[in-house]
Symmetry: C2
Subunit: 194 residues, 2 copies
């Protein structure tokens, strides 16, 4: 005796979301049955809208719905904060401790997984260093994040730009996305030269 | 500096799912950006498909994509297990301890919330008792579930059908030390001979 086909299919779609297991996916699917037609249509429209309108900023690689993201259009450009993923930007913005622009690598260096500098959004970072005073590296404080930071420091420092790393106030092995605002704010405030 | 509009809208849609908070919703929205067009289209199709094809079984009130659900078509009909919601059926099926049919009330009695017997799927339960030997009441072991069980027992027993209630006690694998007083009191009161 199995789940009804269409419920099972929807549950398997929810399972594709991060950290959603079989039981949670089924719970979500049941919740959809209780939604009104309008709500389901709006859900669909929102899914499609994100796929159609969200693209990467030409300058920094952050998600945007224009050619250039809000940060690149409105912020001071003397400081660039380098992050691994767009979602990390939300965490740093929540801390309120940074008013410069961002650069999103879309990954970290990882010899194990065959991710080399060519696989990351690094070339365009080097191309936008004109007039920049400081590059703050805010990759995760884990092995890959550290390796990426060291690589970037070696690449950028010879070009005469100060390179700093957010302080290790955040505990080793944790993920930036989940850091609380105070910890992140301190980590930014105590950044050290590389 | 806010989230991009379309990401925020999608996140608010995910927030409508049970136990999904702001951060989790945002994480799901970001995951959608990383999906392929085909995956997003399949997601939409699955959402719509559930809304269009899933209806309530004419006999028992369970979700089905036909007129009558699989259980009502294929199972023995001497035992009816009464549950509050369709999702409760999945839990009982997982136990593998029941091979009869179900009846879904779609709620519990609650004078506080003004939910009376007329608001529940009870009339059709009385109408299908012909030839039934036992009605097992498997509502939740809380105040509303107990009240519903008592109401159903008073309604059905005079019709000459045996009415039982799933056993209450400390759950398998739990620790006595952490059991709440009411549960322990009931487990003691309903002790069985070894």
């Amino acid at each position: 005796m199995k789940e009804i086909q269409s419920i099972a299919v929807l549950a398997s779609r929810f399972s594709a979301l991060p950290s959603v297991g079989r039981k949670t996916a089924l719970r979500y699917a049941y919740a959809v049955i209780d939604m009104s037609d309008d709500e389901v249509n709006a859900f669909c429209a929102a899914l499609r809208d994100v796929k159609e309108n969200v693209r990467l900023c030409d300058v920094c690689g952050n998600f945007t719905d224009a050619d250039v993201c809000d940060f690149c259009r409105t912020r001071q450009k003397k400081q660039i904060c380098v992050v691994s993923y767009p979602k990390d930007i939300a965490a740093i913005e929540n801390s309120g401790a940074f008013d410069g622009v961002y650069h999103v690598l879309h990954g970290t260096l990882s010899p194990m997984d065959n991710r080399t500098p060519d696989d990351l959004n690094i070339k365009s970072l080097v191309g936008r260093l004109d007039g920049v005073e400081e590059v703050i590296i805010a990759t995760n404080p884990d092995v890959e994040g550290e390796a990426t930071a060291v690589y970037l420091a070696r690449l950028i420092k010879p070009l005469g730009v100060k390179v700093t790393r957010i302080a290790q106030g955040i505990s080793m092995g944790s993920e930036l996305e989940y850091a609380d605002a105070v910890t992140l704010s301190q980590a930014l405030g105590r950044r050290t030269a590389l």
